[in-house]
Amino acid sequence: MSAKYASFDTYELGLVQNIPLLVNKLSTRLTIERKYSKGSVDYVTLNRDDWYRNDVNHYRSQIVMAT
């Protein structure tokens, strides 16, 4: 579990969990993420802050199977 916070109402919440389905044979990894930013980002190319609103929810899953 991860939680990060920054200024300009910027936060990131993340949850990740490995779930073995078959012992040493089959497993999955679930990732849930919530990220929101009211708008300030680090514009490294111009070396200054920039404004860009960000509001995303991500759900990822991967499955790995031993062969």
Partner: protein
């Protein structure tokens, strides 16, 4: 005359002791050999060592990623050499000055991309990148391969590819 003799003696001493000096330096190198950890590149299907790859590859692995709440994918891409993107990740990024979208307009915006983005080995089209923005949470490594990859990674990788690899599942119940 004395100076000349001193010079000859000095040369003689160097000739006599150069082997011992070499032997000492050789022992020093043998005692200080550091075995580097082998680094496999997700971008290469043959899983060759990075030194054997014919392409120009840049990799940022998880320990090198300094991610905070304000970190975006574009801010990481800009740290690679010869790779540039703007603030909005949906806008084209460029490798060696050539954009990933296309170098020329096409009817109905159906141009083929020139640099593919792979998310955990799954390719994304340029159109998908306009509404699907990858994030850095749980990312394992990011690699940029510069150079033509059309033979190994598809026709839309003429200019190179960007590989984002998220942490792969393990067989342990952990979070």
């Amino acid at each position: 005359m004395i100076t000349f003799n001193c010079y000859r003696i000095l040369v003689l001493l160097i000739v006599l002791f150069q082997h011992s000096i070499y032997a000492e330096s050789s022992n020093f190198e043998q005692n200080n050999i550091v075995e580097l950890e082998e680094f496999s590149v997700y971008a290469d299907k043959l899983e060759r060592p990075i030194d054997d790859l014919p392409h120009s590859v840049s990799i940022i692995s998880k320990p090198q990623l300094k991610i905070d709440a304000t970190s975006e994918v574009n801010s990481i891409i800009n740290h690679f050499a010869n790779t540039y993107t703007g603030v909005h990740f949906g806008s084209p990024f460029s490798i060696r000055g050539v954009g990933n979208d296309s170098v020329s307009p096409a009817p109905l915006e159906k141009a083929n991309g020139l640099a593919t983005v792979f998310i955990s080995k799954v390719p994304l089209t340029v159109a998908k990148l306009h509404y699907f923005r990858p994030t850095l949470f749980d990312v394992d490594s990011i690699a940029v391969v510069r150079g033509p990859l059309s033979t190994s990674h598809g026709p839309n990788s003429l200019n190179g590819s960007l590989f984002m690899q998220y942490t792969e599942p393990t067989y342990n119940n952990e979070g």
